[in-house]
Amino acid sequence: MRHNRSMPRATIIPQLAYPDVTAAADWLCTTFGFTVRLRIANHRAQLNVGDGAIVVMEQRPGQRPFAHSLMIRVEDANAHHARSVQAGLRILSPPTDYPYGERQYTVEDFAGHSWTFSQSIADVDPLDWGGEPGEL
């Protein structure tokens, strides 16, 4: 799989929503011993967890408490998307290229869980799009 400095290396990346991302990231690092990999202003943070990672993201109005989703790194987002479409799943967002070097789409599974599948399309320095690197 292509390496992208703006993306954790882990294949499976849980995304957890909190009302205050900065406070949550600080709490998780202090209490559970995680380290900050990358901060994106005050609305997202990637945390290193052993050889894996999680993303702390801003909880939006209307989301249920403790909203979560999973991000999965894949080789080919378009092919994966086509498979989901063929399976008749609800696509929450179509494959789209983002400035941080990822092509992503989001789909809902049969039980209502949200999954974001992400393909690294470039190795992008987080500084190029406003990320604040920690321990990359």
Binding site: G62, R64, S93, P99, S114, D128, W129, G130
Partner: protein
């Protein structure tokens, strides 16, 4: 001269330079819009909160 009013310096002063924060906020807008469309397509149902409310309820004294 330390107080130079040349065209170059004026041009530099008048050109907005994207900051790190601006770029990060642009990412936020992009992802928020993606989430918003997703939630619009899949609005939260009131019943989804019930299991949480049951667990979170304080027991009666």
């Amino acid at each position: 001269m330390w107080c130079d009013n040349s065209d170059v310096s004026l041009a530099e002063q008048s050109t907005p330079i994207p900051s790190k924060l601006t770029a990060a906020e642009a990412i936020r807008s992009m992802l928020d819009e993606r989430d918003r469309l997703g939630y619009e397509a899949n609005p939260q149902q009131a019943e989804e909160f019930r299991p949480w409310e049951d667990v979170a309820a304080w027991p009666d004294d």
